[in-house]
């Protein structure tokens, strides 16, 4: 090996050791763990109680169902909202753009525990501001955190509130990369602003929107904080238990690390598959 290459590796070694110990090893080890029965005194090879159980466990099916429901409802709503926000942020008529941009991005910076506490208060059945506002509009109070469907709605609203602005900033960057003269050409062609949005802006934003969808899919597949903190560990019952929460419960509640590893690999595999489908659907067609 040439001296220069050796020196480079020497400098890289400390990082590579850390990478090996805290990245590669856990990933490889958890894969091995996913085949072991970790509930016996001696961990034995028994994929039936890990991978096999995934197929028959109603609690896993419930968590998977909840996660997919959130994914299917929340991601499209959030991306649509983010696109609208980005378009408004990009408007030349908007004053104090920097302030709005910060305001939309701020939820990402806010601590999860703090925002979860605020959401719990806002959606409190008796004295939450949401029910108070509904009362003003003569809508009966909704038991947000104790009704399964309403609790699911709270999770979706919370996640959307937290991440819509973040996605809007990414989409805004995409919008700003579309050259102004393309719109000017369309204006001279007599194409209305609405049609310009649907026939020029949206198609040109497609790569950015696909990116946002993929990031959001990965995020939602790992969703943990909101159901843990807002709906009190996936409540009511297991109505808002997501795959991430289910994994946590199996690993650190039941100490069933083998099963938890199998769940972790399932989450990763699902995220990859759904993202690939998105990339394929959003590909540039020749």
């Amino acid at each position: 090996m040439r001296l220069r290459t050796q020196t480079a590796y020497a400098f890289l070694t400390p990082y590579l050791l850390v990478f090996l110990a805290f990245w590669i090893w856990p990933i490889a080890n958890s894969f091995w763990l996913s085949f072991l029965n970790t509930r016996s005194a001696n961990w034995t090879f028994n994929p039936r109680v890990t991978w096999g159980r995934l197929l028959v466990d109603p609690a896993f099916a419930n968590a998977l169902w909840n996660t997919l429901i959130i994914l299917v409802i929340q991601v499209p709503i959030m991306i649509a909202l983010a696109t609208v926000l980005a378009t408004l942020l990009n408007s030349s008529m908007l004053k104090a753009r920097g302030l709005f941009r910060f305001a939309f991005f701020a939820p990402v910076v806010v601590g999860e525990v703090a925002y979860a506490a605020v959401f719990r208060l806002m959606f409190n059945h008796e004295f939450g501001i949401i029910n108070k506002m509904l009362a003003v509009a003569s809508v009966p109070a909704i038991p947000w955190l104790s009704s399964p469907n309403a609790a699911m709605a709270v999770i979706i609203i919370a996640v959307t509130w937290r991440w819509a602005g973040y996605n809007a900033i990414i989409i805004l960057a995409g919008l700003q990369s579309i050259p102004e003269d393309v719109y000017e050409a369309a204006t001279l062609d007599g194409v209305s602003k609405t049609r310009q949005f649907f026939f020029i802006t949206l198609p040109l934003l497609r790569p950015v929107i696909v990116l946002c969808v993929v990031i959001s899919v990965i995020g939602t597949m790992q969703l943990f904080s909101e159901p843990f903190l807002i709906t009190n560990r996936g409540g009511p019952g297991q109505a808002t238990e997501t795959l991430g929460l289910f994994l946590y419960r199996q690993a650190f509640g039941a100490f069933n690390f083998g099963y938890a590893s199998a769940i972790a690999y399932t989450i990763a595999a699902l995220a990859i598959v759904i993202s690939l489908i998105n990339l394929w659907l959003g590909r540039e067609r020749e």
Partner: protein
């Protein structure tokens, strides 16, 4: 088809005035080129005609109709942008037809126009391709084709060739001239390249710092510029400017001493010559230096560099603080600081006062 009339057109961005009251009449079918250095306001003026910029003051009329408050799409204009402004996600065919499809034109009519436009611009083979699969020249053709689709009364070109390489630019220039002949439509063309202006224009409008300096046929501007700016801007290589001083005036003529040329004196006929002692400038085009003794006054310069282009040679010389470019017969001789004596002729030189205005 339509003529255009600009009356006292002003453009302000906030407190800054960019165009200071432009007046211009363009005849139906004319090819007019706006030329000037960057930042002179030529593109802004074009965009005001297109309706992409508001008009702060004055009026713009197209075909006799004041269009100040008329939407860009309703002005009967089509524009070709410097960056082509093609829709990147659409094929050439879709790019051509997009505007008409979106405004509810009859499908058969759109197809007919696509065919005609593609035939005119010779892009029929490219119809199924996307812009990124095209070369710069092909993209520019598509952009022009898209402009033709609307069958406009007026074509506007905003530096359409400046992104092309030199060879392609010449080729496209010829095609544009052909297109103008074929369509016979009024065209306004913005460029900072005075060669494009000279070769394409029926008339050139020279702009500088938001003012129209002169309007005229290319060779009129070349032979008879109104001021020093136009004289320096039109023509390549540039006109030479030599510092001078009026030492005597008599019988409708001024005797100008060339201060950087050891008192060489040139007698210039001038009806309204500046007073004796005034600083003036003598302008001489590179090709208007003659052999020693064959003009009205000789100057001797030291040749620094010679460029041999085959058909002619250009000698670069320094005299005092003046850079001179002198065209000579083709040669292969290197310039090694040799002294060279050349002659000026009064009828082949121009006189400017110290403000840059022409003294005739």
């Amino acid at each position: 088809m339509a003529g255009i009339s600009l009356k006292k057109v002003v453009k302000r961005f906030g407190v800054y005035e960019i165009i200071h009251g432009a007046d211009l009449e363009v005849a139906d079918g004319e090819f007019v080129v706006f030329v000037g250095p960057s930042g002179c306001g030529k593109s802004t003026l074009l965009r005001m005609i297109a309706g992409l910029e508001t008009i702060s003051d004055g009026t713009v009329s197209i075909g006799g109709r004041i269009v100040n408050d008329i939407e860009p799409a309703d002005r009967g204009v089509a524009m070709v942008f410097q960056s082509y402004a093609l829709y990147p996600h659409m094929t050439v065919e879709q790019n051509l037809s997009f505007g008409l499809r979106m405004t509810g034109h009859d499908k058969a009519d759109v197809a007919r126009r696509v065919k005609r436009s593609a035939d005119t611009l010779r892009i029929s083979e490219l119809l199924k391709r996307k812009p990124r699969q095209l070369s710069g020249g092909q993209r520019q053709r598509v952009a022009i084709g898209r402009a033709i689709m609307r069958e406009p009364q007026l074509f506007l070109f905003d530096e359409p060739l400046s992104n092309l390489d030199a060879e392609l630019r010449v080729q496209m220039r010829v095609e544009l001239a052909r297109l103008h002949k074929e369509l016979g439509v009024t065209m306004i063309y913005v460029t900072h390249d005075q060669t494009e202006a000279m070769t394409l224009a029926d008339r050139i409008v020279v702009l500088n710092a938001g003012n129209i300096e002169q309007i005229g046929a290319p060779l009129d501007l070349y032979d008879d510029p109104a001021n020093r700016f136009v004289a320096g801007f039109v023509g390549s290589p540039k006109m030479n400017f030599m510092a001078g001083r009026i030492v005597e005036t008599n019988n409708g003529a001024a005797i100008v001493e060339l201060v950087n040329h050891r008192g060489a004196r040139l007698r210039k006929p001038a009806v309204d010559a500046p007073a004796v002692g005034s600083d003036v400038v003598i302008g001489v085009r590179p090709e208007h230096f003659f052999n020693a003794g064959e003009g009205d006054c000789d100057i001797t310069i030291k040749a620094d560099v010679a460029e041999h282009l085959g058909s002619v040679s250009y000698v670069y010389a320094n005299a005092g603080r003046e850079e001179l470019i002198i065209e000579r017969e083709a040669s292969r001789q290197r310039a090694n600081g040799d002294h060279l004596t050349v002659a000026l002729r009064a009828d082949r030189s121009l006189l400017f006062d110290k403000t840059g205005a022409r003294v005739r």
